[in-house]
């Protein structure tokens, strides 16, 4: 569950970086789309994750109006969040590179 929460947080941040300020429903739809509908996530799990990110100061929230004039809370990246995202992206890239080498042993490193 913890690993999942970590990746979910990253996906949220990345989504906000790409699409700008967005409400919870929108983020959920976008994550589902981007992951190719492989991750059929319970949309509800998003909200605790969003709250955690807000408590940690990576995102901030603001009430606004959606396209069909529904009241919705919009989330956006903070500067600290942007920095955090950058660091995490680099870490993930490193991790996957190392893993790739382990899982395909016969290959020469490039």
């Amino acid at each position: 569950m913890d690993v999942w929460q970590g990746t979910l947080a990253l996906m949220i941040l990345k989504t906000l970086e790409a699409l700008g300020p967005l409400h919870g429903y929108g983020i959920a739809r976008r994550i589902e789309q981007t992951s190719g509908d492989v991750l059929a996530v319970n949309y509800g799990t998003l909200y605790p994750a969003l709250l955690k990110l807000e408590q940690e100061g990576h995102i901030s929230s603001e009430w606004g109006q959606s396209d069909n004039n529904r009241k919705a809370k919009y989330y956006k990246l903070t500067r600290a969040g942007r920095r955090f995202l950058g660091r995490e992206e680099r870490d993930w890239e490193q991790t996957t590179a190392i893993l790739a080498r382990f899982l395909a042993p016969g290959k020469e490193p490039a």
Binding site: Y47, P48, E56, G57, K71, A72, K73
Partner: protein
């Protein structure tokens, strides 16, 4: 960083409610938007919404997940438990009050005693790195010592100097000689506690001056210019008003000006706990100027054990290794100075222990331990009561708990909630106990021994004490709340729901736990009361001990002519004049002067009977010497068993005479009458002839074995510091004023100290058994009360539970009397088992107290019998009330009513 920020947010979230509302709106919006999208994709309204909610994972579930993240669930549950617990406690005010009060008494007593223990035993000396400081004492294998505990005897100054110069184990050694100086700065001359110290004294202790500086190394050795003094912080604040420009000022001590060079740090008052906090330190090079009489003569003597020596161990060297190396040095010194050091070696003690008196600290530690043990027992009894109360409560609430369990509450939750209640009780008890301790300190302080009077022992409730109280409260709540909580949380479901929790077998088999608790209580109460009883008996015995002199209507006043530099002739004249004035004062029947105050010990020398000396290997005995004027035995009303008292014809030019105590004659010339026998002191060839034998009298301690005493005529063995003894016809205090005036007229610069009636001196000597008896009696009574409450509670509850059975029996023909007997029998059975257990434990443990008791055996049968009877009658009384209630049960009502 982020984690801390998040944590704080969650903490705040625990106490806020508004976010929930806002989130509900957000969820609502989410579902709306999803529904809209679904409709756009072709679903009908109802299907669209259902799909949206499903995809969400359920609205309530999402709200719960959100809630768990928004707040700190653990904290929330805890707050819930606390609220519920408080509500429960409020609903049962009687139960709450009894529990809190019992705990308050128990915890309060413990905190009070701990405050004293903390101040005297634990907070020993405010110096740097105390564990590395040790005291060096001489142990003498050749000289006999008649007082059992006088094992470690100080050190001689020349030996100290040699140890200091040649040792390898210490960074440095220092020496201290406590004495008294007359300070003529205030309204009238007064004596102040002073210490002659080696120049490195403060350095070895690792202290920094609060003002000015400490001694220079050469202030100990250079021939002059050493009349400098360091003041204690208390002296500076109390007597000199914290004069900011004190450094460099001159104060007059013993009629000589001393320049104040420094003030010691706050809270430091030398290395002896029981000395006054107002002190002055001067370099040991001033010994010749300050000391008089024998002290001056023997200060640099290699044999006379005048100083207290201590040192700081080198880093990495253990005390045992240091002691071994010093013992080796001691054998060299023995070889080098065979006459003075024969049979002498060195022993080390930790400074923290030596602060209480190197031969006495064990007794203080024991006394402290006994006190803590007894109040610990009291607390234990209170805790047992608490446990019983909680068990009863748990049983009473069986229905409620069973219901909760049946509805799905897990056991852990129930246990936790009940433990929260017991913790609340114990914390409340702890807080109330702290208040009791605060008040109790003043009461305890009233019991302090007189010699602690001005020592400035700090009985504040410092952080250590508070921590102790908190710790005790929490432990109590947890330990004694756990078992009742666990028991209550595991109800026999069917049984409880069926019979409402009131059926079952009779007697104590149904509730072995509570019965065992009562048995335990009785045992504990017995142990506490036996301890108290032994001390009370000891107190009685101590008051009745024959001191050897008449211990009423006696007044003493001490003074030091050496402080004013009287030489011998003038001093002898002063004594005669003082005695004359005294005899002519109204209310004074007789007066005399002696070097030793009653029960104050005194200078001791090794005695060799004629024909033996140190060279022959004979073991001389360390004997107290009292220099007296001829009226002494008359004033003190000590009978002369044989021979004569001193008189005016015993002068410096005439034959050297002495009077010995019976014990001394028995020691050296057993079965002889002693008159005409002669002896000499170590290092002094003068043979003294015994012309009289006095009945034994107390030298240092009430209850000691009869001590050998040598009485010498003041005219033949002059000392400048002495005590005037007055036998009064009326109350001693009334003669004090006249005598003070008389002294004033003889010499206004003389400081008069230690003006005491013999009752006051006895109060000081007997403080231990008295205070012990009273305090332990108090705590014993407390223990009695609490266990009576406990017995009553258990039996009362038991009667409640047995109402149906009682009704049944009565319906079947039992008389009221039978029922009463039945219930009483139940109670008595518990009591007897408990008392039996208590007696066994007491017999095993009371031995420990023997060293603190006067002429009372640890197995004293009267005490055990009295306590057992007392407890039995109290228990009977406690059982009586519930038994009466049982008697009054109406069988019709009992059988019908569930």
């Amino acid at each position: 960083m982020r984690a801390i920020h998040a944590f704080l947010q969650r903490l705040a979230g625990t106490f806020q409610k508004n976010k929930e509302h806002s989130f509900a709106e957000e969820l609502d919006g989410h579902v709306q938007m999803h529904t809209d999208d679904n409709i756009r994709r072709g679903m009908n309204a109802e299907e669209a919404r259902r799909n949206a909610v499903m995809k969400l994972g359920g609205i309530e579930q999402t709200k719960e997940m959100y809630h768990d993240r928004k707040s700190l669930p653990l904290l929330e549950v805890f707050i819930q438990d606390v609220r519920y617990g408080l509500r429960m406690l409020r609903k049962n005010p009687g139960f709450t009050a009894v529990a809190v009060l019992s705990l308050a008494l128990g915890i309060g007593a413990n905190t009070t005693i701990f405050t004293v223990v903390n101040a005297t035993l634990l907070n020993a000396l405010p110096v740097r790195d105390l564990p590395r400081l040790v005291q060096l004492d001489t142990v003498d294998s050749k000289t006999l010592v008649t007082q059992a505990r006088a094992v470690k005897l100080g050190m001689s100054y020349p030996n100290f100097q040699d140890y200091r110069r040649d040792n390898q184990a210490f960074t440095d050694l220092a020496a201290v000689f406590p004495t008294l100086l007359t300070w003529s700065g205030g309204a009238e001359p007064r004596q102040v506690q002073a210490e002659l110290v080696s120049a490195n004294y403060f350095d070895v202790l690792g202290l920094r001056p609060a003002q000015g500086r400490f001694f220079m190394p050469d202030e100990d050795t250079k021939p002059s210019g050493n009349d400098v003094a360091v003041l204690s912080y208390s002296f500076w604040t109390n007597k000199l008003g914290s004069d900011p420009s004190i450094i460099g000022k001159q104060l007059i001590f013993d009629a000589r000006p001393y320049t104040v060079i420094g003030v010691a740090p706050r809270g430091f008052k030398g290395t002896l706990t029981f000395l006054s906090s107002e002190q002055v330190w001067v370099p040991s090079s001033m010994a010749d100027q300050i000391l008089g009489g024998k002290e001056k003569e023997f200060f640099k003597d290699r044999r006379a054990l005048m100083v207290i020596a201590f040192g700081r161990l080198k880093p990495g060297i253990a005390a045992e290794a240091a002691e071994a190396s010093l013992k080796t040095m001691a054998t060299h010194l023995e070889a080098e100075f065979p006459k003075d050091n024969s049979g002498r070696s060195v022993a080390l003690s930790p400074m923290a222990d030596a602060a209480l008196g190197v031969n006495d600290h064990q007794r203080f530690t024991l006394a402290g331990g006994v006190m803590m043990g007894v109040v610990g027992l009291v607390l234990l009894i209170a805790c047992v009561n608490l446990a019983n109360l909680l068990l009863a409560q748990g049983a009473r609430r069986q229905k409620e708990i069973t219901l909760r369990a049946a509805l799905g509450a897990n056991r852990g939750r129930i246990v936790r909630q009940m433990m929260t209640e017991s913790l609340l009780l114990s914390l409340a008890g702890g807080a109330a106990g702290l208040a009791i301790a605060y008040a109790g300190r003043s009461i305890l302080w009233a019991f302090r021994p007189p010699f602690i009077d001005q020592t400035g022992i700090d009985l504040s409730l410092d952080s250590r004490v508070l921590l102790f109280t908190l710790g005790v409260s929490i432990l109590t709540g947890i330990i004694f709340g756990l078992v009742p909580a666990v028991k209550a949380s595991r109800p026999d479901l069917m049984e409880t729901l069926k019979s409402g929790g009131r059926g079952g077998t009779m007697g104590w088999k149904r509730d072995p736990l509570r019965s065992m608790l009562v048995i335990g209580e009785m045992a504990l109460a017995l142990i506490a009361l036996v301890g108290a009883g032994l001390f009370l008996r000891s107190m009685q015995n101590a008051q009745k001990i024959d001191l050897g002199f008449e211990s009423r209507n006696l007044l003493v006043m001490s003074f030091d002519l050496g402080a004013l530099h009287y030489e011998e002739g003038r001093g002898q004249q002063f004594y005669r004049a003082a005695i004359e004035r005294a005899k002519n004062s109204p209310g004074v029947a007789s007066a005399s002067v002696a070097s030793n105050a009653p029960m104050g010990g005194g200078f001791a020398r090794t005695v060799f009977p004629e024909g033996r000396d140190e060279a022959s290997g004979y073991r001389g005995t360390l004997t107290t010497v009292n220099d007296i004027t001829p009226e002494y035995f008359d004033t003190m009303r000590i009978p002369l068993v044989r021979g004569r008292a001193f008189n005016d014809s015993d002068r410096k030019e005439t034959a050297v005479v002495a009077i010995a105590s019976e014990a001394m004659i028995k020691q050296y010339w057993p079965n002889e009458n002693g008159l005409g026998k002669r002896f000499h002191f170590f290092g002094d060839p003068t043979l003294r002839e015994i012309v009289g034998v006095a009945a034994n009298s107390v030298v240092g301690e009430v209850g000691e074995d009869p001590q050998p005493i040598v009485f010498l005529p003041m005219t033949q063995d002059y000392v400048p510091a002495a005590t005037l003894h007055l036998r009064t016809t009326g109350r001693p205090e009334s003669a004090a004023g006249t005598m003070r005036a008389a002294f004033q007229s003889l010499d206004p610069n003389l400081a008069i100290t230690n003006v005491f009636s013999i009752e006051q001196i006895l109060a000081q000597a007997l403080w231990a058994p008295r205070a012990g008896g009273v305090l332990l009696g108090l705590f014993g009574a407390l223990a009695l009360l609490l266990s009576a409450v406990g017995v009553y509670g258990v039996l009362s509850y038991s009667v409640n539970q047995q109402t149906r059975e009682i009704g049944l029996r009565m319906a079947l023909g039992a008389q009221r009397g039978d029922v009463m007997r039945l219930i009483l029998g139940q109670g008595l059975r518990l009591t007897v088992v408990g008392l039996g257990l208590g007696v066994l434990v007491a017999l095993a443990t009371m031995r420990v107290l023997v060293s603190l008791l006067f002429a009372v055996r640890a197995y004293d049968p009267w005490t055990y019998a009295a306590v057992t009877m007392l407890l039995t009658s109290v228990a009977l009384l406690a059982c009586y009330i519930p038994a009466r209630r049982a008697m009054r049960v109406d069988p019709m009502v009992a059988l019908r009513y569930d």
